[in-house]
Amino acid sequence: MADQYPAVSLWGGFIASFRRDMLIAARHKAELTNPLVFFLIAVTLIPLGVSPEKSVLALLAPGIVWVMALLATLLSLDGLFRSDYDDGSLEQMLISPQSLYFTVMAKVLVHWLVSGLPVTLLAPLLGLMLSLPGEGYLPLLASLALGTASMSLIGAVGAALTVSLRKGGLLLSLIVMPLYIPVLIFGASAVQSAVQGGAVGMQLAVLGAFLALAIVLAPIAALGALRISTNG
């Protein structure tokens, strides 16, 4: 009987899901750049709306860049499971002999690679536009890299909960944003502290702890939510 079971491996399934989502992302290049353009425009609004004064901007820069990065990640979340739900791939994932945990992980990893990572890499440029002092750049990169990964994971739970709702986008932001607050607090604080000449090790360690916790728990909550969403 055992030879009836497919000769597939956990790792192979993960790689296949990762490859598939990367391919899809590569074929929808326009969607890739949207969060980045949003990030850029939103940050540009700040000097226009507040003040172009360098001292004012430098004071606000860590918080502004972090808040905008948070919003940019949030905006791209809605599509995380949506197309899989619409074309029936999602129900196939639920009943495949592969571990759904790893399939969800693969999807979240791709989401981070195409939204969180580019946002992180673009952030120093925006820091420059907001005259962020020199000490802030490295902590900005590090905190955003850790923080956007946590946010992709936490956001996956919200995306999974709202995937079956036609107009889930705004609701998704509503339920996910409060959960992002700890990440925002420590992320922005890391940059702030660096600018003021303080240490950043503690903040980055906490962000790392958040990420570790999110890696363990968020996919489990997300896959539970996916099962519930496809049931209705």
Binding site: V157, L165, L174, I175, P178, I181, P182, A221, I228, N231
Partner: protein, 250 residues
Amino acid sequence: MAWQWFHRLGSPRWFYEKTTAWMPWLAALSIALLLTGAVWGLAFAPADFKQGNSYRIIYIHVPAAFLALAGYYIMAISGAVGLIWKMKLPFMVMKSAAPIGALLTFVSLVTGSIWGKPTWGTWWEWDARITSMLILFFLYLGMIALQQAFTHRDTSDKASAVLALVGMVNIPIIYKSVDWWNTLHQPATIKFTSKSTIDPSMLYPLLIMVIGFYAFYALVLLLNTRVEILRRESRTQWVSDLISATNKRA
């Protein structure tokens, strides 16, 4: 035997019929406690030497804040029980708990703001506890929004239970983070284990108010749940029988 009791508890009808007898007692208890606490706290407890009489708002503010947080846990645990044992009743409790919790959070925010005016000279202060309470309010709002978004009741119940659980895991993290973010706030004044920094003459009415709020919360939660049971079971025989019996009496 224990299981049988547990599963009977999962039956909305059994729950409805059992709680009918409790309602008047619970109502009497909560009114008595709230009246005693309020009269004692507002009329007999001494005035604060620094804040004068304005501190007396804690007799509403503190119990409301307690219950707002406890209510989230009650909601999340009901949701977890519903998910794990596939019972309907806990989901009804969860759904009934959400608006009560949101309302209590709102009450605690408003009273906090009113208290803040004479104390800090401002209606809104980004104090750690008020900020945490505001975030808790957002969590409740998200919960209610998600519950209402689904047309399929089963999906709505289970999805919001997952959200409540995620929120429950996050609340301590959010509270600690906000605490860390803002250390410029009054230290927590009520501790049941260690030495209290509040005078006993002020504390006793507060404790009575807290217990009274718990009783009142239980009463409102039961009322809400009973309405929810009737709404969801409206097509069953026992509800029709109940309605015709009530009509006959009237």
